[in-house]
Symmetry: C2
Subunit: 120 residues, 2 copies
């Protein structure tokens, strides 16, 4: 089944945003951020992942200042059309703490355990 994709066919929240999970090609989940319909369209058009920054209320072209760009490999939507999964090629660390992934803290036996150290 093939149908033309319309970004308006997705379900956005009250702020016009949809969560986007970034996973690298090897399978590591790197981060979760938000997109609006425009950043989503830009991501598909350019092949460079662009989020919407809720704190800055502006486009967030991942890596624009840090160089840690995400190149889009595949773009997937879920059954409810309210979440996106991006398969990406990540340049350097995805996390602003300089770790490969933002999910570097595990909860084990009631305690927080740090799984990754910042990339030197």
């Amino acid at each position: 089944m093939e149908a033309t994709f319309d970004p308006a066919s997705l379900t956005y929240n009250d702020a016009g945003l949809i969560p986007a999970i970034a996973q690298d090609e090897a399978g590591e989940v790197l981060m979760m951020a938000w997109m609006n319909a425009q950043s989503l369209a830009e991501t598909l058009e350019t092949g460079r992942v662009t989020y919407w920054s809720r704190s800055r209320q502006s486009f967030w072209r991942k890596g624009e200042s840090s160089g840690h760009v995400q190149t889009l490999i595949d773009f997937r939507v879920d059954c409810d059309r309210d979440t996106i999964l991006l398969i990406v090629r990540q340049e350097g660390p995805a996390c602003h703490t300089n770790r490969r992934s933002c999910f570097y803290t595990a909860i084990r036996d009631g305690a927080e355990v740090e799984l990754m150290t910042p990339i030197a």
Copy 2:
């Protein structure tokens, strides 16, 4: 660094919810759903993944009716403490459409492409 984990230390949205990504041990991202502080605590206590159903406004003990339970392998929080990554062992399909993952639709060259068929 080890610190006792307090579910109240996470950032929940205005509805008291936090997004939780479920990834299976082999690396496949299965779904994204929401938790509140109570379902999160129950998940950590029981080792069975429990979400909060926004549509039913009730606990959603994954697999309770379908048998497609998620057993918690590891529980991770991100740098901003506003997203959870669950590493799980998934019994059967994770998706209510009977597909292994909810992310079975790819957008390629402007068209929707179905990547998985329902498990028989």
